[in-house]
């Protein structure tokens, strides 16, 4: 047993379920009247929210909230969602290979980081297998993303067990805002080709639609590429239609279908001493989803929303074959009560039908599992003049850990229109995944005696977080704003791999040494996040982001998979500087610089050793020729020929300097 020389590498990602951002109380009738008292200058200083449902302004929110706008996405030159998130304070985005990313909030980085909830137009991007996001299939026509809202910390979502350290809401534009034709094409040193076309039209007087298609063929990152390069290609078709059925009723129907081939530099599951897949490693991916959402306004202060979706994913990985069907139905209701209260509550049901067939070493028992999730939430937001207090709880029942209660209390004090102080205390859980419950992998020679088996543990319960947050937002001057957030997170019962009690398998006569997940690691994380925006001129915008995290995990067990090393897997310091400059004649010059301190330890590396920090620079030159045509030349990671961001040596690629050119045309 002393030679427990095995490692399980599981490449997954994170996810969750859930929906809908906070809705806040609003003095509806008097808003317009109050705004009419303002001068033009003052009106230009009023912060607005683009979503009528999300009444809460970022300025007044009792949470660490940041928004990536469509302008930010365009000017960052991001071609994927993780890239667009690099400059959000509190997030750590790292590219491991051409197609795999670690996106984490407030620690626990890893390509299978599990403490973050990601929603795409209210649909959770979830695999209950690892409770992770496969970022390689989260493809978007970036032009059609309206905004990405990022809420760090728990309780930002009304729904969802995986919103432990944050929620990312990706929202696409309404079909009404994407009318007409649009084509774009892009090629460069990394992108062999990326081409997309979209057409938006009208159905009757009150209905709008768009259809789009996109194809990406991306080169490998490693130079020269190894035996198994990480080049990838993906085709994607999608549609969205939005209808105003009546002044009080809105209906959205949308869907996506994709198919692609994703290159892997290393098997996604590998056990040392047991043969893994050989040669060129590729994952075949395909899937689709359809979603319908109906919103009905009952009166000025109350509305209901019903949403249903079906999502199917297929992944033919060299190590396993996974098919997942998800159906999710939810309803929520918001209404006002006496004494400036706003009540929001909702019910939802999700069914996940997962079939996983191991190839070689990877194995889940049973291979197929249908798991149900019943959830509800209730929240009361009281507006006590300048102070708004939100008290609420999520209550859910899942087939992995039973009932889970996640209460929170948040308060925001609007000191004056330019300053807000907020604080929150919340409890959140990360529920077990199929991997932790159903895994059954022989980690030593299956014919040997004794045999060590990585086994599911039905006694493994949810990981718990108690989070304390404090934040301050200050509009220092019309051109300067500051957003600060701090947190203290206290984790208990984090997963750790432990040796169970050996037993004799009556069928084979072998002595089985079980290796199981138990909740034997505790920890804490403290951090500070800052965003400073300065607009010196209407044509020039500067922003500075800074993130600090100090994390320490304490393993009370053997922690065989060295999960404790996750305490060093997020850079302690991250700094980002962006400059967006509008030049005459339709030119734009955009620069973004990032500096990250070292990763002090990585559980992905046997010895736990870390990676040194790095600095990188992106520069974009855009040129708008009239209303219809835009050209851009984008240089990414310009400071070095190549650099590494994340992962163990065999599993990561050197990320290359790259340059691409893009042309887009509207008609």
């Amino acid at each position: 047993m002393e030679s427990v020389a095995w490692i399980v590498w599981l490449v997954g990602a994170l996810a969750g379920l859930g929906v809908v951002s906070n809705a806040a109380a609003q003095e509806e009738a008097s808003t317009a009247a109050a705004l009419k008292q303002l001068s033009i200058e003052q009106l230009m200083d009023v912060e607005v929210t683009s979503v009528s449902k999300t009444r809460e302004s970022l300025m007044g929110a009792a949470a660490a909230v940041a928004t990536v706008t469509d302008e930010d996405i365009r000017r960052s030159g991001a071609t994927t969602v993780p890239e667009a998130l690099r400059f959000v304070p509190g997030l750590y985005v790292a590219q491991q290979t051409a197609d795999s990313w670690s996106v984490s909030s407030r620690g626990f980085s890893g390509v299978n980081s599990q403490e973050l909830l990601v929603l795409s137009d209210t649909r959770s991007i979830y695999t209950p297998l690892f409770s992770g996001v496969f970022w390689d299939v989260q493809d978007y026509l970036m032009e059609d993303i309206d905004r990405i809202e990022v809420i760090r910390g728990p309780g930002g979502a009304l729904w969802g067990s995986n919103a432990v350290n944050g929620v990312i809401n990706i929202n696409t534009k309404s079909a009404q805002d994407t009318q007409g034709g649009y084509v774009e094409a892009q090629t460069g040193t990394q992108e062999r080709v990326m081409a997309a076309a979209r057409y938006g039209g009208q159905i009757g007087d009150q209905g709008y639609y768009r259809i789009f298609g996109k194809f990406t063929d991306q080169d490998a990152e490693d130079d020269p590429p190894g035996a198994s390069p990480d080049d990838w290609s993906l085709g994607h078709l999608g549609f969205r239609s939005d209808w105003k059925l009546s002044p009080a009723d809105g209906l959205t129907a949308q869907g996506d279908f994709y198919d692609g081939k994703i290159g892997l530099v290393y098997p996604s599951v590998d056990i040392i001493g047991r043969p893994g897949p050989q040669g060129r490693l590729q994952t075949g991916v395909s899937g689709g989803n359809v979603l319908g959402r109906w919103q009905h306004e009952l009166d000025a202060t109350s509305d209901v929303q019903v949403r249903l979706y079906y999502d199917r994913t297929h992944r033919n990985d060299p190590s396993f074959l996974d098919d997942l069907d998800t159906v999710d139905l939810e309803a929520q209701h918001r209404f006002a009560l006496a004494y400036h209260q706003e009540i929001t509550w909702g019910l939802s049901y999700r069914s996940m039908n997962d079939r996983n067939e191991g190839k070689g070493v990877f194995n889940l028992m049973p291979p197929a599992s249908r798991d149900n999730l019943y959830s509800s939430f209730f929240q009361d937001q009281l507006s006590l003049g300048a102070v708004r207090v939100t008290v609420g709880t999520k209550l859910e029942h899942n087939d992995f850990s039973g009932f889970e209660v996640q209460p929170s209390i948040r308060a925001a004090w609007t000191i004056d229109p330019t300053r807000t102080l907020w604080a929150a205390i919340s409890r959140a859980v990360r529920v077990p995944t199929r991997l932790e419950r159903d895994v059954a992998i022989d980690v030593t020679d299956p014919a040997g005696n004794p045999v060590a088996v990585l086994m599911g543990n039905r006694g493994f319960h949810a990981e718990e977080l108690l989070a304390y947050e404090l934040g301050y937002r200050w509009q220092v001057a019309p051109s300067v704003s500051v957003d600060l957030a701090t947190f203290h997170n206290h984790y208990t019962g984090l997963a750790s791999l432990e040796i169970g009690t050996p037993f004799v398998d009556p069928n084979t006569g072998q002595t089985v040494i079980p290796i199981v997940n138990r909740n034997l690691t505790d920890g804490r994380a403290d951090g500070v996040e800052a965003l400073v925006t300065y607009v010196p001129r209407t044509f020039w915008r500067l922003s500075l982001t800074y993130s600090y995290i100090d994390m320490s995990l304490e393993a009370h067990g053997m922690d065989l998979n060295r999960g404790q090393f996750a305490q060093g897997s997020t850079p302690r310091n991250q700094v980002g500087v962006r400059s967006y400059l509008d030049l005459p004649l339709g030119f734009q010059l955009d620069v973004q610089f990032r500096a990250l301190s070292a990763l002090r330890s990585l559980p992905q590396i046997v010895t736990g050793e870390g990676l040194s920090g790095y600095q990188e620079l992106d520069v974009r030159l855009g040129w708008r020729l009239g209303r219809r045509t835009q050209l851009s030349l984008d240089g990414q990671n310009l400071l070095h020929n190549h650099h590494v961001e994340f992962g163990a040596p065999l599993q990561r690629s050197d990320i290359r300097r790259s340059v691409y050119g893009k042309v887009s045309w509207e008609f």
């Binding site: 317009a32 009419k36 033009i40 009023v46 979503v51 009281l382 308060a411 609007t414 209407t538």
Partner: protein, 178 residues
């Protein structure tokens, strides 16, 4: 819970009223109302001395009744304000301020072309509206609405814009029309 309730009660006593953030369309509606006060139309733009100032919305209406609420009962320079909705630019009759909805994006050029020479203050939150021949463009920057004004387009339409409107706005050159 008992402690929380006591804390909430204490806060209630200290409280003073505050407004939550308005939506983009609420602020845009108030801007449209303000424009009626800071723009002078040529006399022939109104049939009668007490003819209303017409605020038109072309295409899909994003205001959900807010615009009607904002202008209800208001008098600007002795004129009432009315809101009219148009599905097609050809239907445009009397109109002084025209908000061009995002739904009209594919038809923007013919719309600007057809309105050329008419005394209409065109406003839109479509990209690059002011530099493409519109008079006032709303631009969302850091969750705030900024104004971009095309002075040449205003002049061509025979409109005089008050300095109160121009001072905080960004002036864009841009050709007066496509």
């Amino acid at each position: 819970m008992g402690v929380l309730r006591a804390a909430a009660a204490a806060l209630l006593l200290l409280a003073a009223p505050v407004l939550a953030a308005p939506t983009t369309s609420e602020v845009e509606a108030v801007f449209l109302f303000n424009f009626s006060q800071f723009v002078d139309w040529p006399a022939q733009a109104f049939p009668q001395p007490d003819s209303p100032i017409v605020i038109g919305v072309l295409g899909s209406d994003p205001f959900d009744g807010t615009l009607d609420d904002v202008v209800r009962g208001e008098l600007v320079k002795g004129r009432p304000l009315v809101v009219r909705r148009f599905q097609h630019v050809e239907q445009l009759t009397d109109c002084h301020i025209l908000f061009i909805s995002r739904s009209e994006r594919p038809r923007l050029e013919p719309i600007v072309q057809m309105l050329k020479g008419r005394s209409i203050l065109t406003v839109s939150d479509l990209d690059e509206f002011a530099s493409q021949g519109g008079v006032i463009g709303f631009v969302l920057l850091d969750n705030k609405i900024r104004l971009r004004v095309n002075l040449q387009a205003a002049k061509d339409a025979g409109l005089t814009l008050s300095s109160k409107l121009l001072r905080p706005a960004q002036i864009v050159s841009g050709e007066a029309g496509p």
